[in-house]
């Protein structure tokens, strides 16, 4: 029963899920590019964004926009605290230990969220209504447009920030060689802190804009975090176009796989891609082979 409108629907669904994965992937890339750490607590910031928004909406009765802003501020604070309490005290350790610490932190944050907010799933109201939009016989929600739009904005902002601003350049310098960066007067500690702040802000933003579609609960971060990680691995840890393409590709393959093969393999597809990339092209699909810039 193949017909064009079905294909369009698969592609649209895939792209909109892919944009979510890309946005989450960004958070991974930013911290990795500034510190060399893989932050596996990234998914939890996605959860925090959604849960904080719902908490603020119901508890303080604020309108949506201030609630979102506050939720991002709170999540960023959690990110900063996380860096100060769990990462910074352990400065001169191997990256592997830091990675394990981030996994521990993610379990901690998830547990705390469960205790504070309970185990229920919550839905956030859509930003601009629930009437689906029709595109060539396929449908898409207005919320998907928000996701595309915000992802696009964040790519551009990222590009500008890391390529043109002094702080962005300093953060990149820290990733290449923290010691050398400190010699030329860059405060490495501040840069690391900043990268955690920025990535938790982006992660929580992702969590907020997807919450009206996917709903949120204390444990949404696990799967979304892994999907974001896949996206950023496909994209070769870039904080730009690579991760976006990685996310979109992952979303597309998942959706087409679920449509034309079987939905049972949906998550398997993500993991197979992850493994294949790590085996065959660990530098990512879109990156030139590493030529260490000096």
């Amino acid at each position: 029963m193949d017909n064009p409108s079905q294909l369009v629907q698969y592609v649209l669904s895939g792209l909109s899920n892919g944009a979510i994965y890309a946005l989450i992937g960004f958070g991974f890339a930013i911290i990795h590019n500034a510190t060399g750490i893989l932050n596996f607590a990234q998914g939890e910031f996605v959860m925090l964004g959604g849960m904080f928004t719902i908490f603020i909406l119901s508890f303080f009765n604020l309108p949506l926009v201030p609630a979102i802003v506050l939720a991002i501020v709170f999540s960023t604070l959690v990110g900063i605290l996380f860096e100060r309490l769990a990462i910074r005290p352990l400065k001169n350790v191997k990256p592997l230990s830091l990675v394990i610490i981030t996994i521990g932190a993610s379990i901690f944050i998830r547990g705390a969220a469960m205790l504070i907010w309970g185990k229920d799933t919550h839905a956030l109201p859509a930003f601009s209504g629930n009437a689906p939009l029709y595109v060539y016989g396929a449908t898409i929600m207005p919320q998907h447009l928000w996701i595309f739009g915000i992802t696009l904005l964040i790519i551009i902002a990222n590009k500008l920030f890391f390529s043109y601003s002094i702080i962005g350049k300093a953060m990149r310098a820290c990733a290449y060689n923290a010691h050398a960066a400190s010699l030329v007067g860059i405060d490495v500690k501040i840069m690391v802190l900043l990268s955690f702040a920025v990535s938790s802000a982006i992660g929580s933003m992702a969590g907020i804009i997807i919450a009206p579609l996917t709903m949120t609960s204390y444990d949404v971060g696990i799967m979304l975090g892994i999907k974001g990680f896949c996206a950023v691995i496909i994209g070769g840890m870039s904080s730009g176009l690579g991760t976006v393409l990685g996310g979109l590709l992952l979303g597309l393959l998942e959706s087409l796989g679920a449509g034309y093969i079987s939905a049972s393999y949906k998550d398997a597809i993500a993991f197979i891609i992850l493994l294949l990339i790590l085996f065959i092209r660990p530098e990512g699909l879109f990156k030139q082979k590493e030529t260490q810039r000096v």
């Binding site: 698969y10 909109s16 839905a123 709903m215 609960s217 959706s255 079987s262 949906k266």
Partner: protein
């Protein structure tokens, strides 16, 4: 002769004094009757275990407030299985060996129940499971009863309705966990008997956040109705995705989402969805002639009073289990054997899940009428006549 008379008198006096003393201790400090409860209060099946624990505790408190059973108070020993069969077995062992309970209610899930069955069978303690899986009481196990309706009954309720609507081509979309695969099994197994043709048989993962791909596939098929089998939040996402894709064929859900939470999550997407459910969510709409009405209203009202939220279908399983147990203890006393034998004689007990009739051949006790079909109308449940 005289000597003999004196010794007999002496003996009877001592016996009398002793029995008075024993009766006295019973009246003054009768030890409470211990009842064990295995519920998945936390973990993935917390949506079952939490209301069940709350309900069981509430019932025990009510019984104690009213003076207990024949003057003896009840004590509920709750163990959280976390939905983990290994923890359920540990818990059952503890309840039997350390707490010396006379009977156990729960576990909440079929997996946990199957795991503890050998333990309680060996210890010869009656167990009333609150899980739905058909294999818990089929084949019959001497010490095992259950209160939750079989999935097969829910499937039959939907298929009957479809027959009436002259719909025979259906698509099914089930979650890939224990609940979903049991539902899928039953949906497939009973399709033929009702003349149903399953055109599309799709699944989704319990943590999936988007089901448009599966639904697009279903939309492209000639299915006249969709049946989704899962527990929150999956079905709520399915409901929203169906609205998004503009799918016009009717959508059916399982009794796994028969709580207000589903309507809250699915929002507008929930409108018009039908599902089989115990009568509890439409308690006030049930006609007064219904035998269950009294139990339903009493449960709904006291749960609301105790916990400020509405009692649901799942808590009802624990209410039934506790009430069945209470009835058996009242009639037969507190020995596990007597409780078991009395439970098996239960007839026409009108509870929350339905009207129970246990027998030596049937330890599930419910008939098809245990389920009613409800529809979501204006963000509320409405009984489908």
């Amino acid at each position: 002769m005289k000597k003999c008379f004196i010794s007999t008198t002496l003996f009877s006096v001592i016996v009398t004094i002793l029995s008075i003393c024993m009766a006295g201790t019973q009246a003054f400090a009768a030890p409470p009757i211990k009842i064990g409860a295995l519920f998945s209060v936390s973990g993935p099946a917390a949506f079952l275990g939490e209301p069940e624990r709350n309900t069981a505790q509430m019932v025990v408190n009510e019984i104690n407030k009213a003076g207990g059973i024949k003057g003896q108070k009840l004590e509920l020993v709750v163990i959280d299985t976390q939905g983990d069969p290994a923890k359920a077995v540990q818990g059952a062992n503890k309840l039997i060996k350390d707490d010396k309970v006379v009977a156990i209610i729960g576990p909440s899930t079929t997996g946990d129940s199957m795991a503890v069955i050998p333990v309680v069978e060996k210890a010869e303690i009656p167990l009333i499971s609150c899980a739905a899986g058909i294999k818990i009481t089929d084949p019959i196990k001497k010490w095992i009863f259950k209160t939750a309706q079989n999935d097969a009954l829910a499937v039959a309720r939907i298929y009957e309705h479809l027959n009436k609507q002259k719909i025979s081509k259906i698509a099914i979309l089930t979650v890939s966990d224990g609940f979903g695969s049991s539902g899928r099994e039953q949906l497939v197994a009973h399709a033929k008997a009702f003349g149903m043709d399953i055109i599309s048989n799709e699944t989704y993962g319990p943590k999936d956040t988007d089901m448009t791909a599966q639904l697009t596939k279903i939309r492209g098929s000639s299915a006249q109705a969709i049946i989704c089998w899962g527990t929150n939040p999956g079905p709520a996402i399915v409901a929203r995705n169906v609205k998004q894709l503009g799918i016009k064929v009717p959508l059916f859900m399982s009794h796994g989402v028969s709580s207000k939470k589903f309507i809250e999550l699915a929002g507008n997407g929930a409108e018009g969805i039908m599902l089989p459910s115990g009568r509890v969510i439409v308690a006030s709409q049930i006609p007064n002639t219904d035998r269950q009405k009294k139990a339903l209203l009493s449960y709904v009202n006291s749960y609301k009073k105790a916990y400020k939220v509405e009692g649901d279908h799942f808590g009802g399983h624990a209410w039934d289990a506790m009430m069945l147990l209470k009835g058996a203890i009242e009639k037969a006393g507190i020995s596990p054997v007597a409780i078991r034998d009395q439970l098996e004689k239960t007839a026409k007990f009108a509870g929350i899940g339905g009207t129970f009739n246990y027998s030596a051949q049937d330890h599930a006790g419910l008939a098809k009428d245990a389920f009613v079909l409800v529809e979501v109308k204006n963000q509320n449940w409405k009984l489908v006549k």
